[in-house]
Amino acid sequence: MSKKSVEAALARGVEILKAFLPLKSWLVFPVLYSACVWAVRRVFDFRERILAWQVWLDPDFVRAKPDEFVLAFFCGHEALGREYADEIARGDMRVLRAAFPALYPVLGLEDAFLKALFKAEIDASDYRAIVVAFASRTAKAMEDIRPAAADPEFWKALYFAAAEAASLGLHLLKDEEVQNMIVALVKKPAGAAPAIPPDA
């Protein structure tokens, strides 16, 4: 495996996907990264896998969790526990419950697309920003991906890009490396559309 060849495959993928997502290149990273996650697991029904997050944005069972489970979720995640230390100490379930529906799908259920969509905030451990931006950013992603998602050629291009990278040894790289590689590739051309999602 050569890291360079994986990077070259991903670069081709980024270029092709940018053609399907003109002016929406901030979506290239979450789409391509989640496709890579499934390709490494040898699961190739990308369309259903990648769009599954839309079904799971606010599943009923997330809102119905008992307080003890919500509290354990915040305490069990080191950085999250630090960020919400005051609320945990005060037992402020109103704030914790309000943040839970945004944070649990991203950090608890670890949906690949949602994790990539909030990569900047996760990297900065800015979990409150995820809660603030969750509804608007996921709604925008749903809206912006719709035209491309309706085009079978988009899924074919994505399949080839991720499958090629997987065949070249993508699984040997750390998750973080793959994410950084794709982000760098998306940002590469000067003056290109932003790789960071524009929040409404």
Binding site: E48, D60, F61, R63, F69, E110
Partner: protein, 286 residues
């Protein structure tokens, strides 16, 4: 090559008859092929669902519904409409499923009428819930759970009713909440008695037990759900999180000897499921 008669020797009428027969045979073969394919894809969907490959299951059911639709257009039959209705029900397309089962009933499938009624009720309850009319939705789900024998509608009603009751119970006084949750658990117990191998019912039971604070039972039900299979990856992941939550809480509350035995048993399960350690399912990133 034997005594074959060249087709040009036959009368025009005989030739037309042969062509018509050939066409009929070809069309009928196409029909059979469509229905055969629909059945095969429906079965593949069931197999994918049993193996927790939800997305593949959905893709197979969509194909099955399309193929059965094609078959029933060419040659309407109780079988083709039943397969179409089953695939539609599994996809949550209740209105379409109702219409398909009614057509299957009119063509001789005896259960079609009751399945159509159950699909209609499930669709109606879902619409009520969507518009925030939870009380009538809950009544319809309860009715389905009490009297339906149509598995897709039963599973749908069990999941939706559990979510609604759990969400409603959050705002109740402890005594009222426990009463509501115990009632819900009794209904789930009845479902489990009827269909013990359905992982979803065990998952739902584990959720309710978690709310009631019965973590031992919640853990056991979650283990059973994991072993029997769940209908979606996110539910599987949530079930894993419930297992870890119960494991950590129980480990901290049990007497030392019991805690040790419990940790050993949990480690065996975790090993069987391919977890990295007692609290890290395989799907969790480092």
């Amino acid at each position: 090559m034997g005594d074959m008669i060249p087709i040009s020797y036959l009368s025009a009428r005989t030739r037309s008859a042969i062509v018509a027969l050939g066409l009929a045979a070809a069309l009928s073969a196409a029909c059979l092929t469509d229905l055969h394919r629909a059945k095969r894809d429906y079965t593949a969907g069931q197999e994918h669902a049993a193996a927790m490959r939800t997305e593949q299951a959905v893709a197979s059911w969509k194909k099955a519904a399309d193929e059965a639709s094609g078959a029933s257009l060419r040659k309407p039959s109780a079988q083709s409409f039943t397969v179409k209705g089953l695939a539609e029900a599994n996809l949550g397309r209740w209105r379409e499923a109702e219409a398909s089962f009614l057509k299957a009933f009119s063509l001789g499938f005896a259960k079609g009428e009751s399945w159509a009624a159950d699909a209609a009720l499930a669709g109606l309850a879902a619409s009520f819930a969507e518009f925030g009319l939870e009380a009538p939705a809950l009544r319809m789900y309860a009715q389905l759970l009490d009297r339906s024998d149509f598995r897709p509608a039963l599973m749908f009603a069990a999941e939706k009713r559990t979510d609604l009751v759990l969400a409603g119970a959050l705002g109740l006084e402890p005594r009222d909440r426990d009463r509501a949750l115990s009632g819900l658990n009794k209904a789930l117990d009845r479902l489990i008695d009827r269909d013990f191998a359905c992982g979803l019912y065990h998952y739902l039971h584990a959720q309710v037990d978690g709310h009631l604070g019965d973590l031992r039972r919640s853990y056991e039900e979650a283990v059973m759900a994991r072993q029997l299979g769940l209908p979606a990856e996110k539910i599987l992941r949530d079930n894993d999180n419930q297992l870890v939550y119960c494991y950590l809480r129980l480990s901290g509350s049990l007497p030392a000897a019991e805690a040790e035995a419990f940790a050993a048993a949990h480690a065996r399960w975790a090993g069987r499921w391919g977890w990295r350690d007692a609290r890290t399912p395989a799907w969790k990133k480092e």
